[in-house]
Symmetry: C3
Subunit: 153 residues, 3 copies
């Protein structure tokens, strides 16, 4: 069967403002974002349009920071963290409401956590690895997953 030629979107860093002393891996896809001073971004990470990130934020490999998010200062985001800004994603939707999460200061998010649309994670909260966060997390709260290693077959 004959194939059409797809349009190729280049993975790149574009239209983004960085503060001082930032370190960014290559193979990242960052567009339309703003970073404060002293941030780090690991490889295979996407940071989307209008994201605003504070100072001293570390975003590890394989993570997605979705359109519209704000992230405070001194935040750690682990490897493979996914964030979402659409409650009812549909392929080819002409319109959709962008309802991103927001993350305060001094927050740590463990690897593989998933942060759902509209969630507010307040200052000093800690999110355990693999947690799926569907409600707001208050100041200093610690959210952990069920211990699934007890769920033996």
């Amino acid at each position: 069967m004959a194939s059409n030629k797809p349009k190729i979107l280049k993975v790149d860093i574009k239209d983004t403002v960085f503060g001082k002393d930032c370190v960014v891996s290559d193979m990242v896809n960052i567009y339309g974002a703003t970073f404060g001073d002293n941030c780090f971004v690991g490889p295979y990470t996407e940071v989307q349009n209008t994201v605003i990130i504070g100072q001293n934020v570390r975003i590890q490999s394989h993570s997605l920071i979705c359109e519209g998010m704000t992230i405070g200062n001194n935040v750690f985001i682990g490897h493979g963290v996914m964030t979402a800004n659409s409650r009812h994603p549909v392929a080819g939707a002409e319109e959709w409401k962008c309802d991103p999460p927001h993350i305060g200061n001094n927050v740590s998010i463990g690897s593989g956590a998933i942060i759902l649309p509209g969630v507010l994670i307040e200052d000093n909260a800690k999110i355990g690895a693999g947690a799926v966060v569907s409600k707001n997390v208050h100041k200093g709260e610690i959210i952990i997953k069920f211990n699934e290693s007890l769920n033996k077959k």
Copy 2:
């Protein structure tokens, strides 16, 4: 210690048929697949051999569409969605049974969901972010994860 030189496999788009008006990010690894018209594939995504995808399908970044899968029309696949086709994967297995998931039309799969081997997700179903889908999902069903933000320490 002396190192041998590994064989390097190039990440690329090869042996794949695309319909009209497809958009594909670079840094994807797509081989032996077939796409209908008007599909989108985000960065860091792998689509494996013999996969057949319909029209108007959006596959977001960081996802894996495994060998043998079929995906209908108007399907949304979120970021970091993993699919599996081997019930008992073993390193170096000479033989293995390829038992892929199949996804119908108008399905939406949230970010970070994991779709296990042999699962059939029927038309109009919705899979929440972070769900691990180990059984068939019937027409129009909505599968959500436990609300783990209630599981406070």
Copy 3:
């Protein structure tokens, strides 16, 4: 707003020893690791400093093998598996304790599993897709997640 120029870290294979007959995808970030014979590493995978991996180990795409880990022989690591070596990650920490997981021989780890710091996974264990492993797993144990496809809305 004027942007500073971030320092770009190149994604690469460096300072790593490979045994015979290894196959490695490109777009991997591997540094300071040691691999035995006949290993495979899929694309978008990071293997960090001081990791020691045995023979006949398959690491699928999108996975992270963190600093300090040891992995035995004949191990299968699925797609999108995340591992962690810091119990209390903090952005910009000057000091942190590296407490990596360790994985024995003949272990299989399903896609999207998350392996927490300090966990020992003993020989012949199997970890299901999407499991979050927070405790040691003994010889031959099988760890599965709750069946979340039963959790219908």
